[in-house]
C-alpha cells in the first residue's frame, strides 16, 4: 500500500491470527478480526464459541498467546486493560459497571475525575456529561444529578455508553447491551449504538439477538468453536444463513470448509 492516505475502509482495530489457550483448551484458533470506524461490527456465536474470550483479549484482560494486535494499522503491545484504554478502546460490560450510590456525572467520570487546583471540578464535569448525553440525543434522563439507582436498565446502559463518547473513545465494545432490557429500552439502546457509529467510532456489538444484529450491524463476524466461521456484510446475508454459521460453522459457500468445521469439534 502506498503511503498517501489511509483509505477510509482501513480497520481501526485489527487482530491477526490470534490464538489463545487456557491450559489444554484451545479457545481461539487463528482468529482474524477487524473493527472499522463508523461501522457496527456484530460479533455472534453460540455459547462457548469464544466471544467473551475474544472481547477480553481485545480489552487486554487476557494476554494473547500468539498473533498480532494492530491499532490504526500499527502493531501495539498490549499488556493490560490500561494499555487498551490508553488507545481509546472502551468496553461496556454486560453487568454494567456503575455505582448505584453516585449520580450520573460522578459515574461517567469515575476514575478520571476532572480537577481544578486539586479539587473536583464539578461544574466542568456536569457540563461535559450533559453535552455527551446530548450529543447522543438522550432524552430519557431527567437530570444528570440523578442517582444511578433511580435509573431503569436502559438508562443505565445509556449512561455506560455515553461514558465512551465522553472520553473520545475510538472503539467501543458492547457486551450484550440489550440482554436484560425490555422492548422500548432495547430500541433506545440500539438507536444509541447506531448514533455511536455515525459519530465515527468503531463499534463492536456482541449479541444473541438476531433482530438487533440485523437492525444495527454493518458487518457480522460469526465465531464457531473458536474460529471465525465468516465475516460478512450484514446486507449480503440472510437471517437463516447467520444462524447456520453460528450453529454449524458453515452455510452454503460461506463459512469454514467442512473438514475444518468437523475438526474443530
Amino acid at each position: 500500500m502506498t503511503t498517501e492516505q489511509v483509505p477510509k475502509t482501513a480497520p481501526i482495530l485489527e487482530l491477526q491470527g490470534v490464538n489463545k489457550s487456557f491450559g489444554v483448551v484451545h479457545v481461539l484458533h487463528d482468529v482474524d478480526f477487524q473493527v472499522y470506524p463508523g461501522e457496527v461490527t456484530a460479533l455472534v456465536g453460540d455459547n462457548g464459541a469464544g466471544k467473551s474470550t475474544l472481547v477480553k483479549a481485545i480489552a487486554g484482560i487476557y494476554p494473547i498467546d500468539s498473533g498480532t494486535y494492530l491499532f490504526e494499522g500499527k502493531p501495539v503491545d498490549v499488556h493490560g486493560p490500561n494499555d487498551v484504554a490508553a488507545l481509546g478502546v472502551e468496553v461496556v460490560y454486560q453487568d454494567l459497571a456503575l455505582c448505584d450510590n453516585l449520580d450520573i456525572v460522578s459515574n461517567m467520570f469515575l476514575g478520571r475525575e476532572v480537577k481544578r487546583r486539586g479539587v473536583l471540578d464539578e461544574s466542568r464535569m456536569e457540563t461535559m456529561a450533559r453535552e455527551a448525553l446530548a450529543s447522543l440525543s438522550v432524552r430519557t434522563v431527567k437530570s444528570v444529578r440523578q442517582a444511578v439507582s433511580s435509573l431503569s436498565g436502559g438508562q443505565r446502559q445509556t449512561v455506560a455508553i455515553a461514558k465512551c463518547v465522553l472520553w473520545n473513545s475510538k472503539v467501543v465494545l458492547l457486551d450484550e447491551p440489550t440482554a436484560a432490557l425490555g422492548v422500548a429500552q432495547t430500541r433506545q439502546v440500539i438507536d444509541l449504538v447506531r448514533r455511536l457509529a455515525d459519530q465515527g467510532l468503531g463499534v463492536v456489538l456482541i449479541s444473541h439477538n438476531m433482530v438487533d444484529v440485523f437492525e444495527v450491524a454493518d458487518r457480522i463476524c460469526a465465531l464457531y468453536l473458536g474460529r471465525v466461521a465468516a465475516e460478512v456484510k450484514a446486507s449480503e446475508v440472510s437471517h437463516s444463513q447467520v444462524v447456520e454459521l453460528i450453529t454449524a460453522g458453515r452455510s452454503g459457500s460461506l463459512g469454514l470448509a467442512p473438514a475444518e468445521a468437523a475438526q474443530s469439534m
Binding site: 459497571a97 460522578s106 475525575e113 438522550v138 444529578r145 439507582s149
Partner: protein
C-alpha cells in the same frame, strides 16, 4: 434565566439545568425523599431535640451552662472516633479495634511524655503515627489477604488491649499532666477569640455557599433554590452562634472563679469536620471511597485501585481513633489499661449509624458522625445526671444503636423500593 447551549436545550435536557422552582418545591421533594427512606441525619436531629426536652424536664441541671460545656467535651472524643469510623463504614467494612487503637496510641503519647520527656506535639504525633501504623496493618490484612474486616479488627481489639496492659503494667495507669494536652478539654478559648472564630465560620460558610450558588446559576448547572441555600446558612449560623453564646456564659459554680469560653476541643472537632467533609466530597479520593463502597467491581473497572482505597480508610480511621484516644486521655487526665475498651467503640459506631451513615456502605458523611456523637454523648450525660445505675446507660445506648441500625436497614429497603440511592 440561564443561557443553555442550543444543542443541550434541544436534547430535552434543558429542564435539568434549572433548580426546583421554589422553596416549597424543594421542601416537597425533600419530604418525598424522606418518605422514600432517604432520611439522612433527620432522625438523629429529631432524637436530639426529644432528648434535650426529656432530660431538660427531668433535671434542671441538664440545661445549665456548666453541663452543656461538659457535654461538648464528652462528645468530642466520640465525634472524632465516629468520623474515622465513617470512612471504614463507607466501604461497608467495620473497625472494631478503633477504640483500643485509640487507647494504645494515647498510651504511646502519655509514655513518650512521662518516660522520655518529649514535648507535647512530638508525643501527640507519635500517638497519631502509632494509630496510623495499626490502621495500616489492619488495612493490609483486610485488602491483601482478604480476611473479613470484622475478624481482623476483632483480633486487633483483643490483641491491642494486651499491648496497652503491657505498656502500662497490670492495673496501673499513666497520668497525663502536660498542660497543653490536658488543656484540650479543660481549658477554654478566650471569649472574644471564641466569638471571632464563630463569626469567621459563619461568614466563610455563607460566602462559600452563596458563591457556589451564583457560579452554578451562571453556568446553568444543577443547583438548589436560593431559599434552600439561605435556609442552610441560617441553620449553620444559628447553631454556631447559639453554641458560642451558651459557652460564653460564666458557668462556674464557685462565685470567686470565672469559667467561660469555648473548650478547645470544640474547634478541633469543627476543623476536623470541615477537613474530612472536604476530603469526602471535593477530592477524587473521597469520590473513590464512595465508589468502592457503592460497587467495588465497578470502581475496579473504572481504574480505581480498590485495595489501596480499602487500606487507606483503615489508616484514616485508626489515625483519627488515635486523636480521639488522646482527647479522651486529656479529659480523663490519665491513660489506663481499659482506655478505649468497653463500650467506647460501640458508642462511636452507634454515633455514626445514628447520624445516618449506612452499615451497608456507600452512604454517610462526616457531619453524620458529629450529630450522632452529640446524641450518644447526650444520652450518657443525661442518664448520668439522673443518677441512674450504669446498667441503664448500657441498656439505653444498646437500644438506641439497635434502633438506628433498624432505621438504616428499613430505609435501605424503602430506598431500593423507591429507586433512590
Amino acid at each position: 434565566m440561564t443561557t443553555v447551549k442550543p444543542e443541550v436545550a434541544d436534547s430535552g435536557f434543558a429542564a435539568d439545568t434549572q433548580s426546583d422552582e421554589s422553596l416549597r418545591d424543594a421542601a416537597r421533594s425533600y419530604l418525598q425523599r424522606v418518605r422514600g427512606g432517604d432520611m439522612g441525619s433527620l432522625p438523629a436531629v429529631l432524637g436530639l431535640i426529644v432528648l434535650f426536652i426529656v432530660f431538660g424536664l427531668a433535671n434542671e441541671r441538664f440545661m445549665s451552662a456548666l453541663n452543656l460545656a461538659n457535654l461538648v467535651t464528652q462528645a468530642g472524643s466520640i465525634c472524632v472516633l465516629a468520623m474515622g469510623l465513617v470512612f471504614v463504614l463507607l466501604l461497608g467494612d467495620i473497625d472494631l479495634s478503633a477504640g483500643v487503637a485509640g487507647g494504645v496510641s494515647a498510651c504511646a503519647m502519655a509514655l513518650t511524655i512521662t518516660n522520655m520527656g518529649w514535648p507535647w506535639w512530638a508525643a501527640m504525633l507519635a500517638g497519631v503515627v502509632c494509630g496510623a501504623l495499626i490502621g495500616l496493618s489492619i488495612g493490609l490484612l483486610r485488602s491483601k489477604l482478604g480476611i473479613p474486616s470484622f475478624v481482623v479488627t476483632l483480633a486487633f481489639f483483643l490483641g491491642l488491649q494486651g499491648v496497652t496492659l503491657k505498656l502500662i503494667g497490670e492495673g496501673g495507669s499513666v497520668r497525663v499532666d502536660d498542660p497543653v494536652i490536658r488543656g484540650i478539654t479543660i481549658d477554654n478559648l478566650p471569649v472574644t477569640v471564641g466569638w471571632i472564630c464563630a463569626l469567621l465560620v459563619v461568614v466563610a460558610f455563607a460566602g462559600m455557599e452563596l458563591y457556589r450558588h451564583r457560579s452554578k446559576v451562571s453556568a446553568g448547572l444543577h443547583h438548589a433554590p436560593l431559599g434552600v441555600v439561605i435556609f442552610r446558612i441560617v441553620g449553620v449560623a444559628a447553631v454556631t452562634l447559639g453554641v458560642t453564646y451558651l459557652l460564653s456564659i460564666n458557668r462556674s459554680v464557685n462565685p470567686n472563679v470565672e469559667i467561660r469560653g469555648v473548650p478547645y476541643v470544640l474547634p478541633i472537632v469543627v476543623v476536623l469536620l470541615i477537613a474530612l467533609t472536604f476530603v469526602l466530597t471535593r477530592s477524587s479520593y473521597g469520590r473513590h471511597i464512595y465508589a468502592v463502597g457503592g460497587n467495588a467491581e465497578a470502581a475496579r473497572r473504572a481504574g480505581i485501585n480498590v485495595d489501596r482505597v480499602r487500606m487507606s480508610v483503615f489508616v484514616v480511621c485508626s489515625a483519627l481513633a488515635a486523636l480521639s484516644g488522646i482527647i479522651a486521655a486529656s479529659y480523663g487526665g490519665k491513660v489506663s489499661a481499659s482506655s478505649g475498651a468497653g463500650n467506647v467503640l460501640l458508642y462511636a459506631v452507634g454515633a455514626a449509624v445514628i447520624g445516618g451513615t449506612s452499615l451497608f456502605g456507600g452512604k454517610g458523611r462526616a457531619l453524620d458522625a458529629v450529630i450522632g456523637g452529640v446524641v450518644v454523648a447526650t444520652i450518657a450525660n443525661g442518664l448520668g445526671l439522673l443518677n441512674q445505675s450504669s446498667y441503664i446507660n448500657f441498656l439505653v445506648t444498646g437500644g438506641v444503636l439497635l434502633l438506628a441500625a433498624s432505621v438504616d436497614a428499613i430505609s435501605r429497603r424503602r430506598r431500593s423500593a423507591a429507586g433512590l440511592s
